[in-house]
Amino acid sequence: MDAAQSKVPDFDEARARLVIARLAHLDGALLPILHELQHEFGYVDARNVPLLAEALNISRADVHGTISFYHDFKSAPQGRHVLKICRAEACQSMGCESLVTHLAQAHKLAPGETTGDKALSVETVYCLGNCALSPAAMLDDELIGRLDADRLDQIVLDATGMRS
């Protein structure tokens, strides 16, 4: 965790409790609640763990185990925008790895990293269901087909708000 991420993120226990209370009645409520917390705060703060354990009557270890199992739940805030680049086979066949290389060379950004200004996080995903229009990516909730280096440059520039 770098210095910027370790500063105390804004966590609001009252708001978290509301989210939990709203969904706790569901069968198998933990995943829906975690998604909602992630949506609400941008990550799942460790301070949710005891609240969840209490509300769902399960152990903290179980809650923690579940959160850490899934790639989607982040333990610290992400960038304001998240770009998921598909690196599964169909996208490999269309050169997704060269896009990852381009991102590293031109923008000093690798999957798993966030720009210094917290504008953009980049992640690896395996398949976005757009495999006939590879290489594919997803910017926030927007699916992108036939991604190329120009579009990638544009995404980075737009997200970081830089003017050329």
Binding site: L31, Y70, E89, A90, C91, Q92, G129, N130, C131, L143
Partner: protein
């Protein structure tokens, strides 16, 4: 009179700018004083043409694509509204060879209709299967599905009717229908397309399953990489409830059936059925040992049908047209149709629903047009990340579960990923292990540890570090994973690895990198 213009709202179409095209189409019509209605349909599946714009004419729907915003004025100039000629024109959609040569049963409505219009759904044969099922005894519904020969489309190809019979026979106060919409295999998108393009067919299929086995509650577990499909399904469920199709009494005639959509959280293993059930219960998605079968003790310990999206979405057609009509399609023990998904380095990628029995070469070369790059095809991977790599000379194999097994492959969920000659098969083998290591649920050692070792062993082979010894080690490791893994993630990872090595040994025998040379 208004002219209907169709611009798909499928995520693949959106990924190529369909929303912008729809807006610009409407704006341009307004500017020209033309009366048009923009309909957002599902995708016709000819994804290389997306966004594929269609115009309703007296002759039928005329197709244009791929349409970019910059093409729109020119299209109107060319007389788009009466199907005028244009360089992006393809004539009548249903005469395009890629479309005309399909047997669309499960995808009959996909792309034709507004996905969320129940009226259009009914006008095109929707709910007929459910109406028939409501008039039958549960055992008769199960029998119909059994007789159709439908086998699970999620990968394992287990006969659907037999699974249903087990759950029907299990006595319990609560049973569940779970739809597996985790579709994690690279090269596949049929589940996504049907959920976005014809969501009511899945809902109808699940309601029929509920009647058949006596389940009153269903869940659709959708991977989080599909936010768009999730939204469409949620809205479709709301509308089906409001229309009385779902709820306290199915269509006001049957028992209750309630449906809920749930999001996965980015774990490939949650496509494995028992892992999915644990995930639905709010736990880590770890694979359960079988027995007990989910059909007897599944979600929350209750008898549970878990089926793939396409399996369930095929049931309404089977009920409406009869088991025999479905079984009349296909070959051998592969009955009915399969939505084949052409993907990767292919010129005309898209969804092609066809009766089993067509050759891979027909699919990839005639219909798919060969590679996108124009370079020679070198390999195809069939059945997702756990499927085998096949060389070009195996393409005369027929689309059939057993025929593909006979060439040591796996048809799986029907995805075909094409690679041209630039592919490095040693890298692909390495990736198979890497993927398994990333996605392993960690429950058993051959997979959890074996996949990591696999990456290292392949790395050493690539680096020509004791190549022969490491080849032997790789064989051992693969046998161990095949025989000793609890589920098919660890158990089938050797398939892509060994097929790559078997068919493309030259890629594992390249001159050593200078640093690693002995």
């Amino acid at each position: 009179m208004t002219t209907r213009i169709y611009v798909p709202c499928d995520a693949a179409a959106l990924s190529m700018g369909a929303d912008k095209v729809a807006k610009a189409m409407a704006a341009e019509a307004q500017k020209r004083g033309l009366d048009v209605t923009i309909v957002r349909n599902g995708s016709r599946g000819m994804l290389w043409l997306e966004p594929l714009v269609e115009v309703e004419t007296t002759q039928g729907r005329v197709a244009y694509g791929p349409v970019r915003v910059g093409d729109i004025a020119g299209l109107y100039d060319a007389g788009l509204l009466s199907g005028g000629a244009h360089r992006l024109g393809h004539g009548l959609t249903e005469k395009i060879p890629f479309f005309a040569r399909q047997q669309r049963l499960t995808f009959a409505r996909c792309g034709l209709t507004d996905p969320l219009s129940l009226d259009e759904y009914k006008a095109h044969g929707g709910l007929e299967g459910l109406a028939k099922a409501l008039a039958l005894a549960p055992a008769a519904v199960v029998e119909e599905v059994t007789q159709s020969g439908l086998r699970g489309r999620g990968g394992a190809a287990f006969p659907t009717g037999i699974k249903w019979r087990t759950t029907l026979g299990a006595a319990a106060d609560q049973k569940y229908i779970v739809c597996n919409a985790d579709e994690g295999d690279s090269g596949t998108y049929a589940d996504r397309m049907v959920m976005e393009g014809d969501p009511f067919v899945l809902i109808e299929g699940m309601a029929i399953a509920g009647l058949a086995v006596g389940a009153t509650k269903g869940f659709i577990y959708i991977r989080s990489e599909y936010p768009h499909a999730f939204g469409v399904i949620q809205e479709a469920i709301r509308r089906a409830e409001a229309a009385g199709i779902l709820g306290k009494s199915v269509m006001g005639k049957g028992p209750a059936f309630h449906l809920e959509a749930r999001l996965g959280a980015g774990a490939y293993i949650c496509g494995e059925e028992t892992s999915l059930l644990d995930s639905l219960e709010g736990k880590r998605g770890q694979v359960r040992a079988k027995p007990p079968l989910p059909a007897i003790s599944g979600l929350f310990g209750k008898p549970t049908i878990i089926n793939n999206v396409i399996s369930l979405a095929s049931v309404p057609w089977i009920m409406a047209h009869g088991a025999k009509a479905y079984a009349d399609f296909g070959m051998g023990r592969s009955r009915g149709t399969l939505p084949v998904q052409l993907a990767g380095n292919i010129k005309r990628g898209g969804l092609f629903e066809t009766a089993f029995g067509v050759s891979l070469r027909t699919l990839i070369e005639d219909l798919g047009g060969g590679t996108h790059s124009g370079k020679p095809l070198r390999a195809v991977q069939i059945g997702g990340p756990l499927g085998a790599y096949h060389p070009a000379h195996e393409l005369d194999t027929l689309l059939d579960y057993e025929a593909i097994a006979a060439i040591k492959g796996m048809l799986g969920h029907g995805g075909i990923v094409v690679f041209d000659e630039s592919v490095d098969m040693a890298k692909q083998a390495r990736f198979a292990f890497e993927f398994c290591a990333q996605e392993s649920c960690g429950k058993c050692t051959p997979c959890r540890i074996g996949a990591r070792r696999g990456v290292e062993v392949v790395d050493r082979i690539i680096a020509a570090d004791h190549r022969e010894a490491n080849r032997v080690l790789l064989d051992d490791l693969c046998s161990l994973m095949t025989d000793g893994s609890l589920c098919a993630l660890g158990g089938l990872t050797p398939l892509p690895v060994m097929s790559a090595l078997h068919h493309f040994p030259e890629d594992f025998n390249r001159p050593a990198l200078p640093l690693a040379a002995e």
